[in-house]
């Protein structure tokens, strides 16, 4: 039987097992929406308030589930509004399929109403994109889109569908398998390289494991934990890798990088072997690249060959899926009689424990002074027993969330790491809450970030998403202000937001519960009260210390061992 393009579109979603999509209708996608309406019991569509929110929500869904997130937006402004989310997904390797409407084929290139060349616009920030030019190619294209998005190094794939394709008809056939001669990611690591890596690991005196988002994406947290424990090496996680190893474990030395711990950064600096797994030597991790890991040999495991030796020359590159390679490493380790040098490791741990004594994340909450943001995050971790999904926006609060919420599981820490997109948190939390309706999902945010996608409070009401919004309100764009304090002689150019709204009233206007918390003594009670409101979104506006800084810090241009502690 012949189906219309719109029918094929929905059939493909069903074939891919897509349960939830996030989107916003418009002229070019009306037939698609009409079909979604007819099949609303099959595919659940969440109506956001702005297309950026749709893509971030799909990202949140994907980051929490490791399944591709799906967004649907219209042509022109609908598509351009989605670009920030697409770029965000590209930087953080989030599997995403974004469908955009396009003007009918005969109008393409005509400057038609709501026409943009979205395939051209997004080309540099997608893993791949397609313009569908024939309805007969629609099903195969969608199959390819899901395949490309979710295999290899995951990423966003955009499918642009002209309106007339959605009404054109053809026989529907969904390919069960797809092979592409131009795309065959290497998933199995080279055995010889794994053996070379093991040689170095067994010789090392001062080794450190440095693992990133790739561990979470590959679902390798369990295997990584096994390997780390068998080796007895210290392990640090990148911002994206948090949760890939249980933070409360004694071998965990904290996050590394610009706002990483003193012990993690020093361990990296002094190490004689760095084992990088699913991490990409981002500039926020390395600091000054000239001063990075001066004494270390480097092993780098990554599924993306282009990530290897991009920023830092690597001694043993291993291209492959992180999980496969870790399993191979474990096998190789178990097949050998040698074990890591216990005496050397004991000395190394002694040194690390010295660095730990700096207690670099200590802060003092004076119960009679204003609330410290760190205190709120730490209390939230306590009351949720470290089990909540934490979505964060971008800025100081993001760093505090990363430092003080001690993740014990992967996929629970959902933030915008690479692109650093303010406004990410709330819509991402919607995506997570849709995936896990029964779980506690929090959005840790700031008074600046929350306003970038605050309209999504409407979506949360419509779909009864009981997100806990933890606003660490300091009346500043805090991270900008911090840099201006340190590096621009306190000239606070545009980092102060006059005329902040009353967030409590705003939350109430959207039909939610709003709270303002001003005293440290009220923090825990408020968090518990919010947590108890299982079926309501609670917006907690914590009025926090205004000029609080994120420490420790590697200033721009410094080496990893040159940290400002307080």
């Amino acid at each position: 039987m012949e189906l219309t393009g719109a029918e094929i579109f929905v059939e493909c979603l069903k074939e891919e097992g897509v349960e939830t999509i996030f989107g916003y209708p418009g002229g070019a996608v009306l037939f698609l929406y009409d079909e979604l309406y007819k099949q609303q019991d099959k595919v659940n569509h969440i109506l956001v308030r702005h297309e950026q929110g749709a893509v971030h929500a799909a990202e949140g869904y994907a980051k929490a589930t490791n399944k591709p997130g799906v967004a649907l937006v219209t042509s022109g402004p609908g598509a351009t509004n989605a670009v920030t989310g697409i770029a965000d997904a590209y930087m953080d390797s989030v599997p995403l399929v974004v469908f955009t409407g396009q003007v009918p084929r005969h109008l393409i290139g005509n400057d038609a109403f709501q026409e943009v060349d979205i395939v051209g616009i997004t080309r540099p920030c997608v893993k791949h994109n397609f313009l569908v030019t024939d309805v007969k190619e629609l099903a195969t294209t969608i199959k390819k889109a899901f395949y490309i998005a979710s295999t290899g190094r995951p990423g966003p794939v955009l499918v642009d569908i002209p309106k007339d394709i959605t009404t054109a008809r053809c026989e529907f056939h969904y390919p069960a398998e797809i092979t592409m001669r131009s795309y065959n990611p290497t998933v199995k690591g080279n055995k010889r390289q794994v053996r070379r890596a093991l040689d170095l690991m067994l010789e090392a005196k001062k080794p450190v494991l440095y693992t990133g988002g790739g561990v979470v994406l590959s679902g390798a947290a369990h295997q990584l934990t096994e390997l780390t424990r068998e080796l007895g090496f210290p392990i640090t996680n990148t911002l994206m890798g948090l949760g890939g190893y249980p933070s409360m474990d004694p071998q965990f030395i904290g996050m590394l990088g610009m706002h990483g711990t003193y012990e993690a950064n020093n361990a990296m600096h002094h190490a004689d072997l760095v084992i990088a797994i699913g991490a990409r030597f981002d500039d926020r991790v390395t600091g000054n690249i000239e001063k990075f890991c001066p004494y270390a040999k480097i092993i780098h495991v990554d599924i993306d060959p282009a990530s290897i030796s991009k920023n830092v020359k690597v001694d043993v590159p291993i291209v492959g899926d992180v999980k496969n390679v870790i399993v191979d490493m474990l096998e190789e380790l178990r097949s050998r009689s040698e074990r890591p040098d216990a005496a050397a490791l004991a000395d190394w741990w002694k040194q690390i424990d010295e660095w730990r004594k700096a207690n670099c994340l200590k802060y003092n909450q004076d119960m009679n002074a204003s609330i410290k943001a760190q205190f709120v995050v730490e209390k939230w971790w306590e009351v949720t027993h470290g089990d909540a999904y934490i979505c964060s926006d971008v800025g100081q609060h993001q760093m505090w969330a990363a430092q003080y919420y001690k993740f014990s599981q992967p996929n629970r820490w959902i933030n915008s790491g690479g692109l650093g997109t303010m406004g990410f948190g709330l819509p991402a939390a919607m995506g997570v809450q849709m995936a896990f309706p029964e779980e506690t999902v929090a959005c840790i945010t700031g008074d600046g970030s929350i306003q970038m996608c605050i309209q999504e409070l409407g979506t949360c009401l419509q779909y009864h998403l009981p997100i806990k919004v933890i606003s660490l309100n300091n009346g500043y764009l805090g991270m900008v202000r911090q840099w201006q304090e340190f590096f621009y002689q306190k000239r606070y150019a545009m980092s102060y937001m006059e005329a902040l709204p009353d967030f409590v009233k705003l939350a109430e206007a959207y039909g939610h519960v709003g709270m303002r918390i001003e005293k440290p003594g009220d923090v825990e009670g408020a968090l518990k009260e919010a947590l108890a409101m299982k079926d309501r979104l609670v917006f907690m506006d914590f009025i926090t210390e205004r000029e609080n800084n994120v420490f420790p810090m590697v200033p721009a241009g410094a080496g990893q061992n040159e940290m400002i502690l307080v």
Binding site: G120, R123, P124, H128, R181, S182, A306, S309, K310, K313
Partner: protein, 164 residues
């Protein structure tokens, strides 16, 4: 170092701009670029000439591989290879002496005169880059009206080849 990179890619709309966009987005330079379909019309073959340190060229090749439309990439500079470029050059021959002189130079360089009017010759010339440069220098005393160069094409010598 100058590198000649051969790329076999899907003959899809937008494939060329993915390659060109990659170079501009990552700040790599393109000295020349030629592209056309192969004997298999679903594939295009591109020759791209770039300059960069070994690290940069290694990164360029990895980034090219990463493009979904790219099937195979080969750095011809790593192999014995042949490089050719084609040029059309239009030269004014309005002075009496010019006709003979230009024709002689064209013969020396094994060029073909492919169009003639009473005022100008159009010469077709194939060779490596240096030969074409040398010819342009040789005819500088005449009035050059137009130069069209194809950019380099390359192919490996012997067994090494780039195919699916």
């Amino acid at each position: 170092m100058r590198h000649v990179i051969s790329i076999l890619m899907e003959n899809e709309a937008g494939a060329l701009s993915r390659v060109a966009g990659l170079f501009s987005a990552r700040g790599y330079n393109i000295e020349s670029l030629t592209v056309a379909p192969t004997e298999d019309a679903t594939l295009s073959r591109m020759t791209l000439v770039t300059r960069g340190s070994d690290e940069i060229v290694e990164q360029i090749i990895k980034q090219l591989h990463k493009l979904i439309d790219v099937v195979k990439v080969m750095d011809l500079s790593q192999f014995p290879h042949i490089e050719r470029e084609m040029m059309f050059i239009k030269i004014a021959v309005d002075k009496n002496t010019a006709c003979e002189a230009v024709k002689r130079l064209s013969d020396i360089f094994r060029g073909n005169i492919i169009d003639v009017t009473d005022k100008m010759y159009t010469i077709e010339l194939t060779g490596d880059r240096q030969k074409l440069d040398a010819f342009v220098n040789a005819v500088r005393d005449f009035r050059i009206l137009e130069v069209v160069r194809s950019g380099s094409m390359g192919i490996a010598r012997g067994e090494a080849s780039l195919h699916v």
